[in-house]
């Protein structure tokens, strides 16, 4: 009994000491206080030096919080009880959040730097007239592969993934719309198909891919490709860029039938507390030199046209990161198909995965 009480006291004292240290630490971290801005973004999706620069310029103290999935992020915003001022959903999530009335319409008189954005990326179907969102980074979905591990295969067409020589070589991302989308694309159907017959046909075709599949995993694809553990992967261009920066053998291609064009976008969610700070932050991030530095750090493609002048021409002229108009013509942006359809996509995807063994 005595030792139990002693143990309990020890733990309480230890916790109290840690709390004091923590409070001290927080105090030294947050100067001024009062004026804070909470940014809710993907992990490692901004150059931390830029946050420091912003804090210095404006005196606003930035709290940077991270999430790992669009859905998890939306759950937080929807439930309330938090005070996020800025967040960065993907395009389908912008549409979903817009429909759920979770976003604040943007006042462009406070965002003069909007003029720097490439008009090509403005006024897209998921958010007409950019009423709620501004593109932050963009990219495509395609195939990253490592020719040094393969015997001369190339991937001009999606059908090349079905090549019998690729037994146990292909890694897919664990995401229903991307994988089913590959099936749809290879059959020449739209990525936004809601026709059950087309979807069924795509799933059946995907099932014949089983022997070639090594695994269906998440973001770890990047590491596996870098380490030569896998030779071929279905992946977004952003991650492909990460792979290529580490492993020069890897290359990335968007098959000619077309593919998906994706965007991550800055929005102001309904939970906003510091709306002036949020506008200042957005405008700051849209400055050409800031956007360029951020794109250099993150390694994804920036929609900021003026920023391209501040970047390495070798990167900005690379067709794999910045495809030309003609190539862009084959790309399709996801539409929000509604939860019912999303459920159907996921059920087909589950069926495909269960069939894989």
């Amino acid at each position: 009994m005595k030792s139990l009480i002693r143990g309990a006291l020890l733990i309480i004292i230890a916790a109290a000491v840690l709390m004091i240290v923590n409070a001290q630490l927080a105090k030294s971290g947050a100067q001024a206080g009062g004026n804070t801005l909470t940014v809710y973004n993907w992990g490692e999706y901004i150059d931390p030096d830029l946050i420091k620069q912003f804090e210095k310029e404006t005196g606003i103290n930035v709290i940077y919080e991270t999430f790992d999935s669009n859905e998890g992020m939306m759950g937080k915003i929807e439930q309330g009880g938090t005070s996020y001022d800025i967040t960065v959903p993907s395009e389908y999530m912008v549409e979903m959040m817009r429909k759920k009335d979770l976003l604040i319409p943007l006042d462009y008189s406070k965002i003069p730097n909007m003029k720097n954005i490439d008009p090509y990326f403005e006024d897209l179907p998921f958010d007409p007239k950019n009423k709620y969102s501004i593109p932050y980074f963009w990219g495509t979905l395609g195939i990253a592969y490592n020719p040094s591990l393969l015997e001369g295969q190339t991937f001009e067409s999606w059908d090349d993934v079905w090549d019998p020589s690729l037994k146990q070589e292909v890694v897919l991302v664990d995401s229903a719309r991307e994988v089913i989308g590959m099936g749809l694309n290879s059959l020449g159907y739209s990525l936004n198909s809601t026709d059950p017959r087309e979807l069924r046909e795509a799933t059946d075709k995907l099932k014949t891919l089983s022997p070639n599949i090594k695994a269906v995993i998440g973001d770890e694809v990047t590491q596996m490709m870098m380490n030569n553990e896998a030779a071929v992967s279905l992946i977004w261009s952003g991650q492909a860029a990460d792979m290529m920066s580490e492993n020069e053998d890897i290359t990335y291609v968007v098959p000619e039938e077309g593919s998906n064009l994706w965007f991550d976008n800055i929005v102001i969610p309904r939970t906003v507390k510091n709306i002036d700070g949020a506008y200042k932050f957005i405008d700051f991030m849209l400055r050409p030199e800031v956007a360029a530095q951020n794109a250099d750090y993150v390694g994804y493609s920036t929609p900021n046209l003026k920023a391209l002048d501040f970047m390495d021409p070798e990167v900005t002229s690379d067709e794999r990161y910045y495809p030309d108009e003609e190539a862009r013509g084959h790309l399709e942006v996801y539409k929000d198909l509604g939860l019912e359809m999303l459920g159907f996509y996921n059920e087909l995807f589950l069926e495909f995965k269960m069939d894989m063994k």
Binding site: N22, E44, D219, E246
Partner: protein, 266 residues
């Protein structure tokens, strides 16, 4: 008591090697100047330096430890009370119902626990942050404590309590002098598992946290999209060395003045 034979020793060594292999791997690469968890280039301390420069990260670690310690302590207290009251329940059916209730949180996937706690907290109006995280960690650690303590209670012969009663002990005395000392190993086991659950939890914490409060697991998971940095490896290495050191130190201290081997302490 007889000693372990050679085979037993080899077996134990094998178990420990496997248990520590991934940790050794993590720590090994925390010294890699190459910046990732493969292809060791050359030795460096830079990732350790990065840990100490990152005040936010240190704050998160402190949060994690505070939540773990407090939640383990409180859940152990409540869990022990629960185990005792379940054990001495007269109504067998009621007892079984309580036992099943107890285990439901253990089977429920974290996502469900997290989602339902989130709804609960917002309904009740608890601000998301330290309090909500602490409360949910306490909540999901209680069943493991009960499960660890119950077998000890079952082993305890009822005659022990009868004897104490015969000797005129009050209920309070029975609790503090008979029951608690007897089930102490179970209490410790429960506490350590509660600590483990809390340190390892990601999904529940993710749902119920907010307003700038974060734990290490949440932080690590949110890094997954762009890859976990070796700073985290270095941090884990540090945490590992510190906890192992603390435990060893505590053990040595505790065993220096030789206490009478277990038995009944009065």
């Amino acid at each position: 008591m007889e000693k372990n034979g050679k085979l037993a020793k080899i077996y134990l060594i094998a178990v420990f090697v496997v248990l520590y292999a991934p940790i050794a791997y993590l720590i090994f690469y925390s010294f890699n100047s190459g910046g990732k968890m493969s292809h060791f280039e050359s030795f460096t301390w830079e990732h350790y330096a990065a840990v100490f420069e990152d005040k936010r990260l240190i704050g998160i670690v402190l949060n994690t430890v505070i939540v773990a310690l407090l939640s383990a302590l409180i859940s152990t207290a409540i869990g022990v009370m629960g185990a005792i009251s379940i054990h001495y329940m007269r109504n067998k059916a009621m007892r079984n119902v309580m036992l099943s209730m107890n285990s439901i949180l253990m089977v429920s996937p974290d996502v469900i626990i997290g989602a339902s706690f989130l709804i609960l907290f917002t309904l009740v109006g608890i601000k998301l942050g330290f309090a909500s995280v602490l409360l949910s960690h306490i909540a999901f650690s209680i069943p493991i404590v009960v499960i660890m303590v119950l077998p000890k209670l079952q082993e305890m012969s009822p005659t022990l309590i009868d004897a104490a009663l015969d000797l005129g002990a009050t209920r309070k005395e029975i609790m503090s002098r008979v029951i608690l000392p007897f089930i102490q190993p179970g209490i410790f086991a429960g506490f350590f598992l509660a600590l483990t659950y809390s340190l390892d939890d990601f999904a529940v914490t993710f749902f119920v946290t907010g307003n700038g409060f974060s734990t290490l697991s949440v932080e690590i998971y949110s890094m997954a999209r762009t890859g976990v940095t070796l700073t985290i490896n270095a941090l884990s290495g540090l945490i590992f060395v510190i906890t192992a050191g603390l435990i060893l130190g505590y053990y040595v201290l505790k065993n220096r003045p030789r206490t009478p081997a277990s038995g009944v302490k009065r």
